[in-house]
Symmetry: C3
């Protein structure tokens, strides 16, 4: 099995085998971050551009560290209000970066489909680091990696995603990836935070949290995007916490080895209690650690693929 | 021929031979960016500070990549509103950077003459990355490099610069460089965008675009700085496009091998049509590629010169 | 003598011997910045995060250069208004960085005690780069390093700190460090800028500048934080300059080899005249140079200590 794509745009378009290849590659890279000298020369002389149209320190820093552990140069372009004043289109920016002979663009963009658009228009690799409400594949991959590390397999697991499913690229990517690998996925949210026809993605839908959690092996707790909405979709944070917050009280009724995941950053006391977030079922910080391994794997695989494609084109 | 200046401030003060030395050095560096490992150790252990008082992602990124391909460390100082609150003078900032034992300051500043002021006051190398309406020498050098690559020579070429000549450091640096190398330079703009006595720089002045383009080998299309002016100097973008926009219709009447240049970022449909920008006469993205080679050459030459000067001082 | 702390939080908690160890280590690193290739492999494969909740280009750049001269990777997190919108707590941010397997957090924070809070909650090293009005240990260490370089010793020296003592972490760290090493410290400020019970730190307090400076070997001139206060604490900059500004006229009455220090950036004509700042008694730029050596030493020592602690835990 070989990785054949110059880009990583979403889990929707990957096969089970391709997802497993990323996970296996990540496994072999995980050890690098435990060394005294946390660096391998795999991508020396290559360069990655973090092209972020939305602020996201966490994802940017994770990719930056992953790239540097592969000995890759990193250039950050944070398109805040001041620097995008000149208003070049995404495709033009991409073509310019390609002309600079960089190797990979890690793109965070507020529009769904932005990564696909860019990837179609440039020869460099594009890694989708979150596009609108669409996909955030490396986040889902690190979630799945963490699950697999804990349970040894994905097939047959019950995973419940709780929170604002409608506006969550993390949920969407997890659903694609987990169902392909044979997990059963449930989503749980108030109706206002559920997208229509979500069942079509092969998930079971719940409005009641206790029902949703009954047999679950892992709860993936989504962040309430408090900063996103001026008018609240939900009555209040406190109401949300009562009905959908993951608390110790709820946890006690569930499987003893249940895993608690959260993509971060946490709203403690909104979607999760501190006791649960810091408790022994929580693998939230392990997710962060695994994010480096997964991103190293993706950076590595797309580079290999691009070079294979280039070499084949020369024959 | 040896490069003897610790700085690169403008093309006005360079001889023909010095400009040619930069172009030849850039030629030899261009190949580095086509390697699998795009890195040479030429400036290992040196550091460049990108000191930008105006936002310019393009130029900053180009210098950052060029420096990293020379194995040079890069520190970015983007003096936006928040970080310049403490209001240190440019010279004091420069002296502090010198005390930090950095090697090169790449300066972008909104005041004409800022790079000269800084260079006179510090021992480190200063590269002018654009000062007010004055000069932007590396942009002109990459334009000239691209011209020479395409035509084999500069002498005897007809180059027409179209657009807001009055407020363009790119125009000014191109005029200095091209005329020194023996090209004939025409400028074309509405009267309100022409500086007074521009003829003194040895260029021919046109207000009518079709007249200006008649025998030209290359059109360098300037960006309309739409974001710069609150009140428009010109009636409207649409009017500008009609009278001064480079369109396919106009292109068809010109030399078949005419080159279309633009320093970017493009205002499609303002100073240039998309068809032309993306067409086969356009070398806009090649300019971007050549920018890396030219900036590597400049970073390298000023470092060599500074070390020669230092060694001579010791004898 | 061996360094045993994973963190550097302040000079209040260090012994005389520990401070001297940092100074000696800095001495041995100072030479690196004079080499042609300014780089040693001491921290290769490690990573430092500059986590800055207050803008401070000077300190950030100094740490960034110091880390890079040790071959350490540097990731900048500048928590401006846009990127902290998501509002994660300092401890959560720290735990996330730890999960990313970074080695050192250099923290600048507007709350006194922030560095201590963070250090208690993470296993990575924390270097305090300024916390509220509390401490700024590397600034004081570079001041003391400069003093020792000039006078050969600290014991018995008279040092006077002039300016806004009440709001100065630089003053506080200097007082702790200097008194431990046996210097006599005087502080001089208008009453409104003196903290209550400052005498308890073992300093002599003056309101009159000329009296304060009489026998001093070094004046450390604090920056008036003009940008910090909307309403001025002191009548006006001009009044301040008259009463507390360090001028040539004042300097002439003092010891001939008196040193003038300033942590920068300078307010010329407010707390110091240009003639003095640029004069032969000024060591202001040498302080900047020494800052690199001191920060290299601190980055190196905390890393060594953390590895010693880790190895001991394994036995």
């Amino acid at each position: 099995m070989e990785w054949r794509h110059k880009d990583l745009l979403g889990l929707a378009e990957l096969t089970k085998e391709e997802i497993e290849l990323i996970l296996d590659t990540a496994s072999s890279f995980k050890e690098v971050s435990t060394r005294e000298i946390k660096k391998v020369p795999a991508l020396r002389g290559k360069s990655v551009v973090n092209l972020f149209y939305e602020p996201s320190t966490r994802t940017r820093v994770s990719f930056e560290i992953a790239a540097k552990r592969l000995s890759c140069d990193v250039i950050n372009i944070i398109a805040d209000t001041s620097s995008v004043r000149k208003g070049e289109s995404l495709v033009d920016t991409g073509k310019n970066l390609e002309a600079l002979k960089i190797d990979i663009i890690v793109l965070r963009h507020n529009s769904s489909g932005a990564a696909h658009l860019l990837a179609r228009n440039v020869g460099v690799s594009v890694i989708n680091a979150g596009d609108g409400w669409h996909e955030h594949p490396t986040q889902a991959l690190l979630d799945i990696f963490t699950l697999k590390e804990k349970f040894g397999k994905i097939e047959g697991l019950n995973v419940t995603i709780v929170g604002d499913i409608a506006h969550s690229r993390v949920a969407r990517s997890n659903i694609w990836g987990l169902t392909k690998l044979g997990a059963k996925v449930c989503v749980c949210a108030p109706k206002s935070l559920l997208p229509i026809e979500i069942e079509r993605l092969g998930v079971e839908v719940f409005n009641d949290l206790d029902e949703a959690l009954r047999d679950t092996d892992c709860v993936n707790v989504l962040r309430m995007q408090l900063e996103r909405d001026e008018k609240t979709i939900f009555p209040s944070s406190l109401d949300y916490f009562k009905q959908y917050g993951i608390t110790m009280e709820r946890l006690k009724k569930l499987k003893r080895n249940i895993l608690i995941m959260h993509p971060g950053p946490l709203n403690r006391g909104v979607e999760i209690s501190s006791e649960v977030a810091d408790g022994e079922n929580s693998v939230i910080l392990e997710q962060v650690t695994n994010g480096i391994a997964v991103r190293m794997a993706v950076l590595y695989l797309v580079t290999q693929a691009r070079e294979t494609i280039k070499n084949e084109a020369h024959h």
